[in-house]
Amino acid sequence: MGLVAGVVALNALLAAVGYCVLYPALRGRSALTYASYAGVALLMGAGLVPLVLSMLAPTGLHIGLPAFAVVAAVLAAVGLVAGRVFRLDADPRRAVPPAGRLEDAVVTVAAFGIVAVLGIVLVGGFRSSPWLDDTWYFWLPKGRALDLVGLDPRLWSPNPHLHVLFGNDYESLWFIRPDNPLWWSILLNLDMRFVGSIDMRAVNGELAFLMMGFVGAAARLLWGRVRLSILLPALLVLLSAPEFLRQAQGGDADVPLAIYLALAILCAVGWLALRSRFALALFVVFAATAIAVKSEGVLELVLDLAIVSVAAWRARRALLPLWGAAAAAVATSVPWYAWRSANGVSNVFSLRNALSPSYLRQHTNLLHGGLRILGDHLTSIREWSLIVPLAIALGLVGLVRERRIAWLAPAAFLGFGYVFFVWISWADPEGAFRLVASAYRYVTPPIVLAGIFLPVLAERLLSGSGSGGRAR
């Protein structure tokens, strides 16, 4: 199909599948309402189709275009049939128009900024090959292998026999980071199949679509609940963070992980705050996808859900369904975990090391390095603009005013995310290498997660102060 047409066609199909899955929630709504859910539909389809394919991969099935067509058709049919049987209320709110001219001008400028940045991201995506070698070294080759060979243990299982010496350095002939789940590899291979050849620019094209879907989905889910003069500028702050945009052309899976994790936790809060069954259903899909993107996805999800659970203890009766939904999301990755276990593919992060005081005592240099390097990235305004300071400042102001711990949840995502990555870097035998090579990416999910709550915090502060109070 060619580069642009191929990536566009794949994403249009994924969005179509997403719309079918959303049918129980959108049936009977206007065309405009359907259009407003384009971002949610794209991320639903892009999440679900490769997720189901990754569940099928351990059976030995070749994950190529025929498998894609069948899975996409089945998911679409299930969604359409489900829409005939039961109904979920998406409760699409309308935004209250800005009250004054200044507020309207702010909304217009922010909307322009979002469209302009996304436009440049899209154009730039199709003009750039990923700058990170992980993409062509193992993420995409894994997808090609799943398509051409199937899930072959020869390529995934560590085997000391399969080492080659080049000069003074060994290289392995199996995939490095074999523990990572298959979602991103499968999606990238589908892009190449639709393009018709291996064109690395399709990777960044796909990331641009995911970024557009993310902003569209976040805006739709918060639309009418956060006033536009807060929502759009806050989304612009998040979207325009230099490091977010840079990583969107890196080709690695950290940006998709950040996107799905942030939306999953936003939906979890939507369930707790509004008892929206629609939000809970979205949570299952987004959380299952986040788990299927990278190995650390499941740990970050559990950590962030624990923070949300503590912060929302007042609504504890709603926590059981939430954790049940989380268990359902984790269950979608059981086939992959079972295959890994059967084929000796262990996680690169060793729990034994992480819980061993003697091991940790012997590697305190990594603790110091982790604290410093991860802390530098986390607090860098040059990399992440104002997301971190705003999340902390708004949280503290809200805490002082209302004396409710829930205000600190976004700051806790950052703080505990930081501690978590310091800890696993400390326990990692290759922690020194990984801190230098990957620490800037470790902080991406917690920062994007904190960022998506900026509009919620600001709205709550302003509506509580009596200056607005229109959107709840």
Binding site: F112, S129, P141, I198
Partner: protein
């Protein structure tokens, strides 16, 4: 959805912002840096951005010649430079599948000879040689 801003004012504001964006995009020096980086003014090719100087076209040619069968094995023969070896392994996994790499020429049916000091490693003999680039060959081999 639209607020109290008159349509003409709104359109004027958008036009002004568009003009400003275009001006920044084409401004000389550091001002246009963020947009220049994001839009990638000097577009990349479809090939991976290799760390070592890899001939992407030669790799694709070799990938097209290798039989499309999972039983096919290949060995990478090159200079003892770690980064070059690393990148060639990655390129092979990307372009040569379903053929799989092997650690020894004795297990290989094919050899990718990439800017190597000798055409072939010891222990194998060429059956058919394809020149795919400057000092880059894909060779079907039999065990010597």
């Amino acid at each position: 959805m639209f607020g109290p801003l008159p349509l003409r004012v709104r359109l004027g504001l958008v036009a002004l912002l568009a003009l400003l964006t275009v001006a920044v995009a084409f401004a000389p020096g550091r001002l246009s840096g963020p947009i220049r980086r994001l839009a990638n003014y000097r577009a990349d090719t479809r090939d991976p951005i290799y760390n070592a100087p890899i001939d992407g076209r030669a790799i694709r040619r070799a990938g097209a010649i290798l039989p499309d069968s999972r039983g096919v094995t290949y060995y990478i023969h090159t200079r003892p430079v770690p980064q070059l070896g690393h990148d060639l392994i990655g390129a092979g996994l990307l372009f040569f599948l379903p053929a799989v790499p092997v650690p020894s020429p004795r297990e290989a049916q094919w050899v990718l000879s990439y800017d190597a000091p000798t055409l072939l490693p010891k222990g194998v003999r060429a059956e058919k040689t394809y020149r795919v680039g400057e000092r880059i060959y894909l060779i079907r081999v039999r065990q010597g």
